[in-house]
């Protein structure tokens, strides 16, 4: 009531500004209005610019033939395929190098992080030097350097082919390895493998139940490993070894047959992996250090053996610290894989955002596809890691 009395002397904009509620609404309306005006401005500009050079905004080009070759394809692709197919091939190549890179970077990073905590002075300092030298140099330089080394210092296929009769050939055209050739009966092995995994999951549940009821601890790890490795192996021999290896052989100037890892892929994969590993190493180190030694002592006091202390006490607590920054490193690796274009690895940016863009002149359409695809990739990685983080986080009362 008293406020009403004070507020009575007429309406004025200044009074409105001094009211907290009103002010926040005014600010928000202004922000939105500015944003809309800005968007309208750039859209009208874009329309005017496109009209001036006689271009239209359409995605029709996606179904036209791309008419360029891609040197590494995971799905059938020829130069007669469409731009859309080229984009998919590029996306798959991006995903391939990202997934391989994430796996290798995680392994390397954990090894380096543990070495960094080693009580062995020499190993500790070596890991430190490697980490510092790697992470303080641009990743693009690592990629170019590695690519340069592979292309200039490895032998040509001809030299490699005449020098040795190995089954692996490291040449400047790529790493050639035997490729597995599956025979029809191989599906039995595949089924055995799936069955073994199902069995392992079931056994794990059963072991938990037994432990809850009787306190007995069953050797889950060894039984699971035994089943997953052993069962397919037994089936493999029973089925008469339905698998043979096709070794690469020198035909003319290059190898034929077998699997090939192209130098661009190898350079990109290794460089991204060890560069990211040097960041992961520091994250892992920080995570392990963050678990206070009292936790291990408490576990020892309860009578847990060292390896179970590690797996039940230290690692679960360290993971809580490790996972969020690890997720952003995975995202960084995926985004850094776009540097592929510098060495000619045909990823998403190099296909649709590179050659397709040049050929069709559709800058806006192609760049929008590239940007949106990366956005979706990043958001899905962060969603996956959030889900995992939610699972391992501390359950509080």
């Amino acid at each position: 009531m008293a406020e009403q009395a004070v507020a009575s002397p007429g309406f004025s904009p200044l009074r409105l500004w001094n009211d907290k509620e009103a002010r926040s609404i005014i600010i928000q309306i202004l922000t939105m209005a500015l944003l809309v005006a800005f968007l309208a401005y750039i859209v009208t500009n874009a329309i005017a610019n496109l009209e001036a050079i006689g271009k239209t905004f359409s995605y029709d080009f996606l179904s036209e033939p791309a008419s360029y070759d891609i040197n590494q394809t995971l799905i059938p692709y020829t130069s007669r395929s469409t731009h859309l197919e080229a984009a998919i091939v590029g996306l798959l190549n991006t995903l391939l190098v990202a997934v391989c890179g994430i796996i290798l970077a995680t392994i390397l990073g954990f090894i380096l992080g543990v070495l960094r905590l080693s009580s062995n002075w020499l190993v500790n300092k070596m890991a430190y030097c490697f980490i510092e030298f790697t992470r303080n140099v641009p990743v693009l330089l690592h990629i170019l350097l590695l690519h340069g080394i592979i292309v200039t210092s490895l032998p040509t296929p001809k030299q490699a082919g005449t020098e040795s009769s190995d089954i692996f050939f490291f040449t400047n055209r790529g790493v050639f390895a035997p490729s597995p050739q599956l025979e029809p009966a191989f599906w039995a092995v595949a089924i055995a493998f799936v069955a073994a995994i199902v069995f392992a999951i079931g056994f794990n549940k059963y072991a938990h139940k037994v432990q809850d009821e009787t306190g007995k601890h069953l050797p889950v790890f060894w039984v699971s490993i035994g089943a997953i490795v052993g069962l397919p192996l037994i089936v493999y021999f029973i089925a008469g070894m339905p698998l043979h290896w096709e070794t690469p052989a020198l035909k003319g100037f290059n190898f034929k047959g077998g699997m090939v890892l192209r130098p661009e892929f190898v350079a990109l994969w290794l460089a991204l992996s060890y560069y990211t590993a040097s960041f992961i190493a520091e994250i892992v180190r920080a995570g392990i250090v963050s678990v206070s030694y009292g936790q291990s002592e408490a576990a020892f006091a309860l009578g847990l053996r060292p390896n179970r202390t590690l797996s039940l006490i230290v690692v679960p607590q360290a993971l809580r610290v490790i996972v969020p920054p690890l997720a952003s490193q995975y995202m960084n690796l995926t985004k850094n894989s776009s540097l592929a274009i510098a060495i000619g690895y045909m990823d998403l940016v190099a296909t649709i955002g590179g050659i397709s863009l040049m050929q069709t002149g559709k800058e806006m359409e192609t760049m929008i596809i590239v940007l949106l695809t990366y956005l979706v990739l990043s958001l899905s990685i962060s969603a996956a890691m959030n889900w995992y983080n939610q699972r391992i986080k501390l359950v509080e009362r």
């Binding site: 062995n120 303080n136 641009p138 274009i341 940016v349």
Partner: protein, 381 residues
Amino acid sequence: MTDTTATPSATSGGQTYEPGTHPDLPSPVRTEGPIFWIQKNLLSSPLNVVLTVLGGLLIFFTIPPFLDWAIFDAAFTGESRKDCEAVASGACWAFIDERLHLFVYGFYPVDERWRVNLSFLLLAIALYFVLYDGAPYRKYGLWYAVAFPFIAGWLLVGDGAIVKSVTTDQFGGIMLTLVIGVTGIAFSLPLGILLALGRYSNLPAVKLLCVCFIEAIRGVPLITLLFVASTMLNYFLPPGTQFDLVLRVLIMVTLFSSAYIAEVIRGGLQAIPKGQFEAGDSLGLKYWSSMRLVVLPQALKISIPGIVNTFIGLFKDTTLVIVIGLLDPLGIGRASLADIKWGGLAEEMYVFIAIFFFICCFSMSRYSLYLEKKLHTGHKR
């Protein structure tokens, strides 16, 4: 039994001795000196012995050959690759030496290079005031540091009246790296603070806008943003506008970096207890005063390591401009590989550039560690 109680003599290992007949005890275990150090740090367990041997072998097989290549068997003078190969089997540093001016200045006109040198000097002075808090007249020095990007911009580009104008396509080398890096750092910090405050604010519309901007920028690689800058940014400007490529890159790099800075600072803001915000309000401070005087000093202090890490990342990311045709040191180096006279001395070039980046980035990370220690005033929760 009676014996031992009657003569209180030293017992060891169940044996009794008459006083004075006890043999000398073994000398105490060594706890200092090089031998103990080696035992403790290198050979404390079988696993450690194995690791030490493996590490030693690795060092033995990598470091001496590298030193041979880089120093002992290297050629430091010469006119061409042939000259180098005639005198030495290792690296050919004469190549770097001859092209050093390109690596530093790019294609900046020779007569105008004093301007680049002068701006390096001005940068050093600005860094001195920003980084060293014991500097005399630091208050004025900091104002100077704020003005520095504009002064250097004027000096490097020129205005055609006082100093001759130089087009930005002649920028290159380390100078271009520093232009992009310093501009990105200088402008992304204030922008990042604004974005972080926006994301942390109570106004839903502002918050939504900032969240969308930050997440969209962080979700895509810098390289695609650079492509956007080089291919499609011109479409969004009024028809007929010609917009300098380096300027477009600077804007993109700044926007990119500010999104990351914003996330780092948001982390700092979240670590500030709610009571601090309320304390600011209860003192009657308005929003901006409360942020400036109470919240941000604490939030920024916590965020320093993250901010410096972002800056290091930004500095390394400046190399990406080669994909849109700008010539930073890496671009200059790659272009000079085609030179017939020197014929593809790629390793020398990459090692040289790697050392440059290592020195810059490593010193930044050391400085951040020092700052972290210095600012740690004991309020850590």
